[in-house]
């Protein structure tokens, strides 16, 4: 149930991000109905949740709300990745990175090390 709602949240956010302009619950419902059978109240609940979570902003138009994404998907992604990286220094137990952050000089030193023994089977 929760997983299903999570997936619907993601679908609705993607739909709104792709649309790039405000939409009512009715708009979203009609947009999604092309792909799946879904109830008006379900979409309304999920969009209300997304508003509570701060992902959507809304303003009343007539008797309904019109919803809009607070920020672009790219902005959210950049924020999430930045937090993921910032956390890696002092809270190693939260996320485990493949590679810690390097300075450009350190990255260059790595490249030099690879030049000495180029990997087989693939041009460096």
């Amino acid at each position: 149930m929760i997983r299903g709602l999570g997936e619907l949240e993601s679908t609705i956010m993607d739909w709104l991000w792709a649309r790039r302009r405000p939409a009512s619950v009715r708009d979203v419902l009609e947009g999604l109905r092309q792909e799946r059978v879904i109830a008006y109240t379900t979409v309304m609940t999920v969009m209300d949740n997304l508003h509570t979570k701060g992902l959507l902003k809304r303003r009343p138009v007539g008797r309904a709300y019109v919803y809009e994404t607070v920020a672009s998907k790219e902005a959210y992604t950049a924020g999430l990745m930045r937090r993921a990286l910032a956390g890696s220094g002092n809270q190693a137990a939260t996320l485990v990175h493949f590679l810690e952050q390097l300075t450009p000089e350190e990255a260059a030193a790595l490249e030099a090390a690879l030049q000495v023994f180029p990997p087989r089977g693939r041009p460096a």
Binding site: G6, E7, E9, S10, M13, L55, K73, E74, Y76, T77, A78, L80, M81, R82, R83, A84, L85, G87, S88, G89, Q91, A92, A93, T94, L95, V96, H97, F98, L99, E100, Q101, L102, T103, P104, E105, E106, A107, A108, A109, L110, E111, A113, L114, V116, F117, P118, P119, R120, G121, R122, A124
Partner: protein, 316 residues
């Protein structure tokens, strides 16, 4: 009392000198990261245990212990209720014996809780922003920065950005994900949390600071080794270099440069694994670190116990 002094001295010497010993054995540790991690963990446990046991040895006279548990509890109860028999040493030592493990447990719980909350928030956003790639078995995020990491925990997942996917050859992608899978399977986040907890609980203790740094480093070497069982070492090295270059300078903290260089060198130019005798020596050291403090603490009690009971036998 003598056991207490020995244990207290050991605590101080080990907390200061063991990191130095570890630094000298760094090259050896790189050949056997798993064993080296065990040694750092054992050293940490050893120092905490000896501190607690030293405090207990000062607080509770050994000849009391020898007379059996009932009497020991009676004396402790007396000490706590009306302060009779409470010397100044036990007044100082008893709180230490309680506070040291309590502080370690508190910091451990705090680290785990915070990591859990952060991971849950992170996973919720990943659900919105990423898409699960069934072939890779990982979440793919549309982002130019070349990143790969794992989110440990009950709903563990691996994350890789499109930037990394575009840079890496397919076999390098699988090698990177194998490395992350090794972190998840080995529950490395708990190892890191333990090291983090000790370093936070007792800031400024050289052993715990050093253990945290070393364990963070060694755990990457260990995951590389696991990935190298199924993937060519050269591909892991190439993946490291490709992920290290072309990153936005705004994010650079310069924390892991030396480790990354070590990892590339190890993958390209592997050293022989430890010989059987070296491995056994390492395991023996783990046993001594873990068992040593308890042995020292028990000597006076056991001898007093024996003296007491042999005395009884003698009378009979």
């Amino acid at each position: 009392m003598i056991a207490g002094i020995v244990l207290a001295l050991y605590t101080i010497v080990a907390a200061i000198w063991l990191p130095e010993l570890g630094r000298r054995a760094a090259r050896w540790a790189e050949r056997a990261p798993r064993l080296a991690i065990m040694l750092w963990q054992a050293a940490g446990v050893s120092v905490v245990a000896s501190a607690v046991l030293a405090a207990l040895a000062f607080a509770v006279p050994a000849d009391v212990v020898g007379h059996g548990l009932a009497e020991l509890f009676a004396i402790c109860a007396d000490m706590l209720s009306d302060g009779s028999g409470l010397t100044w040493t036990s007044a100082v030592a008893l709180p230490i014996a309680v506070l040291v493990p309590a502080r370690a447990a508190y910091c451990g719980a705090a680290v785990l809780l915070r990591a859990h909350v952060e991971r849950r928030e992170h996973a919720a956003m990943l659900g919105l922003l990423g898409r699960h790639d069934t072939d890779l078995g990982a979440v793919v995020i549309d982002y130019d920065e070349r990143l790969a990491y794992c989110v440990p925990g009950r709903h563990a997942q691996m994350v890789i950005t499109t930037g990394a996917l575009h840079t890496l050859a397919p076999e390098q992608v699988t090698a990177v994900l194998e490395h992350e899978r090794a972190h998840l399977r080995g529950r490395h986040h708990l190892v890191l949390a333990g090291a983090e907890a000790l370093a936070r609980a007792f800031p400024g203790v050289p052993l715990f600071e050093r253990a945290r740094t070393e364990i963070t480093r060694l755990i990457e070497l260990l995951a590389d080794d696991v990935a190298a069982r199924r993937h060519p070492r050269a591909q892991i090295a190439a993946a490291l270099v490709r992920l290290a270059t072309g990153r936005a300078p705004a994010f650079t903290l310069g924390a892991g440069g030396e480790t990354a260089l070590t990892r590339v060198r190890r993958m390209l130019n592997p050293e022989a694994p430890l010989r059987r005798r070296e491995r056994l020596t390492g395991l023996a050291a783990v046993a001594v670190l873990l068992g040593g403090p308890a042995m020292v603490a028990l000597v006076p009690s056991v001898s007093s116990f024996l003296a007491h009971h042999c005395h009884s036998l003698f009378i009979l």
